[in-house]
């Protein structure tokens, strides 16, 4: 347990340089990107872009100083729990992001659920029935899922399911769980394709290994071999990918959010990038960096459950 705690603390401490790094790089990139936030704001608000107005706007937005100073100021504010205010609405950035994060989390959960429901049976069946019609159908489905762009699938679902069928909303998240149906299917279908193929390939690889052969020679039932021994090992790369996917999903899925008018953080971030809305971009990057690191930490911890060798390497067991 102590080993585990030390590991956790060590991983959490790595958060500090990671977050400092990503926020500073973002700061530099935004500064290097063409476009002046003051000019964009003036254009957006129909204010004449004169040198005087530009200077006033730059001062008001706090983008007129040298970059290191601006970054230091931002960092000081963050340490005091202040992510700044949005250039475009004047609202606190934390409120804007946190107000939209739950919607994104719901969509991420829905998408993952659909992915699980599709990918695991498809991947497993395709591996077990390798070379048969079932395998070909599974692989073809995965290929279609990976190839179809989410905006197109979303529009198809809206046109042929939501519009003609009462009770299934076209957009928004007002109708409760049913609102999640089409955005989750759109999101989950594409993901399922990747995961099904990955799971199939891993299962096929594991099923060729010596320990599976020896399990079979000892007369173990096929269900036990697959379920208890093969599947477990085939899951490790899948779980690794899951950490990255979950980070991406929590970062928002812009296309799906746009098509289904889903009020998530992805759209907020993209709009902020187009507006050069630095405080919102920085706040978003900070929270997403946090989400990525935490998700990957959870995934790393899950290896301990999946693979006894990890626990042994950490001294909880002895290699005999």
């Amino acid at each position: 347990m102590q080993v585990m705690l030390k590991y956790l603390i060590r991983r959490l401490l790595t958060l500090v340089p990671v977050l400092l790094g990503v926020t500073f790089i973002t700061f530099i990139l935004m500064d290097l990107a063409p476009g002046d936030p003051a000019e964009i704001l003036l254009t957006r608000r129909d204010i004449e872009v004169t040198p005087e107005n530009l200077q006033l706007a730059r001062e008001a937005l706090g983008v007129d100083g040298p970059l290191p100073l601006r970054y230091a100021n931002w960092l000081l504010d963050v340490l005091q729990g202040n992510l700044g205010t949005s250039f475009t609405t004047g609202e606190p950035v934390s409120a804007e992001i946190l107000g939209r994060l739950p919607a994104t989390a719901e969509l991420a959960a829905g998408g993952l659920l659909v992915m699980f429901l599709l990918a695991f049976p498809l991947g497993t069946v395709a591996a077990l029935l390798r070379g048969t019609v079932g395998d070909h159908i599974g692989r073809l489905t995965a290929l279609v899922g990976a190839s179809i762009p989410s905006f197109y699938l979303g529009l198809l679902l809206i046109t042929y399911i939501a519009v003609p069928m009462e009770g299934i909303p076209v957009m928004g998240k007002d109708e409760g769980l049913i609102s999640l149906l089409l955005p989750s299917v759109t999101l989950g279908f594409g993901l399922a394709a990747t995961y099904a193929r990955l799971l199939r390939a891993n299962l096929l690889e594991v099923l060729q290994l010596d320990y599976i052969r020896s399990a079979r020679s000892r007369g173990l039932r096929e269900a036990v071999i697959i379920g208890r021994h093969a599947f477990r090992n085939a899951l490790i790369p899948v779980v690794t990918l899951l950490g990255i996917t979950m980070g991406h999903l929590l970062g928002g899925t812009v296309v799906v959010e746009r098509i289904f008018a889903w009020p998530g953080v992805g759209r907020l971030a993209v709009e902020a990038i187009f507006d050069r809305n630095y405080p919102v971009i920085q706040g978003y990057v900070l929270l997403m960096g946090l989400a990525f690191v935490c998700m990957n930490l959870v995934i790393d911890l899950s290896y301990r459950l999946l693979d006894p060798r990890v626990r042994m390497e950490e001294g909880e067991g002895k290699v005999s």
């Binding site: 063409p34 476009g35 002046d36 000019e39 964009i40 254009t43 608000r45 129909d46 204010i47 004449e48 872009v49 004169t50 107005n53 006033l56 706007a57 949005s86 475009t88 609405t89 004047g90 609202e91 107000g99 994060l101 739950p102 919607a103 989390a105 719901e106 991420a108 959960a109 993952l112 699980f116 529009l155 809206i158 939501a162 519009v163 909303p169 076209v170 957009m171 928004g172 998240k173 007002d174 036990v224 379920g227 208890r228 599947f231 477990r232 899951l235 899951l242 746009r258 098509i259 289904f260 008018a261 009020p263 759209r267 187009f274 507006d275 050069r276 959870v298 899950s302 459950l305 999946l306």
Partner: protein
């Protein structure tokens, strides 16, 4: 049989996701429900005869601008009203100012304010409140320019407001119409500043809440024209054009109403559906082609005129907009008919003349750079117009390249002046609005769009027109300016926008005007 470990992982991940979802699924305060509860409480003692009417309007942009904006919310929300509006001929029309007159010395405008008007917070609308608003608007960067000739504002009676100008300005009421004369309760105006604490106006609808891309409004029972028919209005920002139309077809929104809300190519999808009324409205937005007038070869007006002659505006409107637009024949919107000098187009398609002008004035191997703003191109077919121009230039052996950039990079390129031709939408009102913005040396759009046009003659005429109190004389000066704009061609009009919007059939008396503002007061649901 799956292993226990696998279930452990699934359980772990599920818990993690559920934790985040729980935050999102907490009984979110649904503003609509709150409104319904409030209304139920308020009407609890009345006989429950009236059915609640809720109108949901889909829009393509967010109408919530926040406290730092001049009006907090877009004017289409009907939450606030201004002193002056414009009629269909773009002449000043009374709004919160019942009567507008001019002093003998022609420098002071006297606004007789409407009596019996109250703000949504119960504060009275009077000359003092209007004065506080004018002081704020004069300071506000978005409206300061409209009041640049203002000397003083005075409340000379309970409902009499006087605005004294430094010099006679015949177009002043037009100049401050709609947004620049928006009135808000003095209680929400920042003392000595320009911010608004809340959008508390005098309009037929009161602001209730903003969340999840929606603005929730409730009827103002004390509205000066009477109580509106519809109890609640929701403006829903739906960014994707396909989703907007699908939402209307599915009945999730009752109307789609904003500029460019339905693209011309989406019209066939809605035509023939009996439950949907498809409507059109001429709006004040026009699309222009402008030049960087300091860059060779477009520093030569003959080259600019030559390029303009290559545009078949009729064909562009028919093929790119399915006819939902008006080919431009003047630089000013056709809605301002009085100020347009003749019925003949100054901007006819004449490829032979265009070819001759370019042949005579272009050197060999000169390349034209066409700049396109991809953010605007999502709402107007600017990329297609650029490609059309490129094809026409190519036919004459003139090499050109199209650079498509998003807003930030586009602005930077304009600032550097590293282009020859570009396109933009522009919405104006008074002809002075157009000429002062685009032809006056060093002025706003002339400078910020990188046109950099300079002409002493134009400057003098613009200054003369803006002060000319005789309407006929002023009109003649604008005719001269139109001649000059045609000859020098720093920018040329392409087409005037015609917006398509739609409602479900049970939405009655719902109309959008040339400012894309729906008048919600008479609207009702059948």
């Amino acid at each position: 049989m799956l292993s226990r470990s696998f279930f452990k992982i699934v359980f772990l991940l599920t818990v993690l996701l559920l934790l985040s979802v729980t935050v999102g699924c907490e009984p979110a305060e649904d503003p609509l429900e709150d409104l319904e509860e409030d209304l139920e409480e308020e009407t609890a003692e009345e006989p429950a005869e009236k059915t609640e009417q809720i109108l949901t309007i889909g829009v393509g942009r967010d109408f919530y601008y926040g406290s730092e904006d001049r009006t907090y919310l877009h004017g289409s929300t009907n939450v606030w009203e201004g002193l002056v509006y414009l009629d269909e001929n773009l002449e000043p029309e009374s709004w919160l100012a019942e009567d507008i007159s001019l002093s003998q010395d022609e420098k002071t405008w006297i606004f007789q304010l409407r009596e019996g008007v109250v703000f949504h917070d119960g504060a009275a609308f009077n000359a003092e409140a209007a004065k506080a608003n004018i002081i704020r608007l004069r300071k506000h960067p978005q409206t300061a320019d409209n009041y640049k000739y203002m000397e003083e504002v005075r409340a000379t009676g309970t409902h009499t407001l006087e605005i004294e100008l430094k010099k006679p300005l015949p177009a002043f009421p037009v100049l401050i119409s709609y947004f620049p004369s928006a009135m808000f309760s003095p209680e929400v105006i920042e003392t000595g500043g320009t911010e608004l604490a809340a959008p508390v106006g005098t309009g037929p609808y009161k602001f209730a809440d903003y969340s999840q891309d929606r603005i929730y409004l409730e009827a103002n029972p004390d509205y000066w024209k009477g109580e509106p028919n519809i109890d609640q209005v929701v403006f829903h920002h739906i960014p994707d054009e396909g989703t907007r139309v699908a939402a209307l077809r599915a009945g999730e929104v009752d109307a789609l109403a904003d500029v460019g809300i339905i693209l011309p190519e989406q019209v066939p999808e809605l035509e023939g559906i009996p439950e949907i009324n498809l409507l059109t409205q001429e709006v004040l937005t026009s699309i222009y082609m402008f030049f960087q007038t300091e860059n060779a070869p477009v520093d030569n007006p003959a080259v600019r005129r030559g390029i303009s002659k290559l545009l078949d505006r009729e064909e562009l409107v028919n093929s790119l907009l399915d006819g939902y637009g008006e080919p431009a024949r003047a630089v000013i919107s056709p809605l301002a008919e009085y100020w347009i000098d003749d019925q003949e187009s100054r901007y006819d398609y004449d490829p032979e003349e265009g070819s001759r002008l370019l042949d005579e004035n272009l050197e060999e191997n000169e390349k034209i750079t066409i700049l396109v703003n991809s953010s605007w191109a999502a709402r107007w077919p600017l990329s297609s117009i650029a490609q059309y121009l490129q094809t026409e230039l190519d036919k004459l052996g003139v090499e050109s390249e199209i650079k498509s950039l998003e807003m930030g990079a586009y602005n930077e390129e304009l600032g550097k002046g590293d282009f020859h031709v570009s396109f933009c939408p522009w919405t104006g009102q008074d002809p002075d609005d157009f000429f002062s913005s685009w032809l006056l040396s060093g002025s706003g759009f002339n400078q910020s769009r990188g046109v950099n046009f300079s002409s002493e003659e134009a400057d003098e005429l613009i200054q003369e027109a803006v002060q000319e109190m005789d309407r006929e004389e002023r009109r003649k000066i604008y005719f001269q300016l139109q001649d000059l704009a045609e000859e020098k061609a720093p920018l040329v009009p392409v087409y005037h926008d015609l917006t398509v919007y739609a409602t479900r059939d049970y939405v009655k008396d719902f109309q959008m005007d040339f400012n894309f503002r729906p008048d919600l007061f008479p609207a009702y649901l059948e």
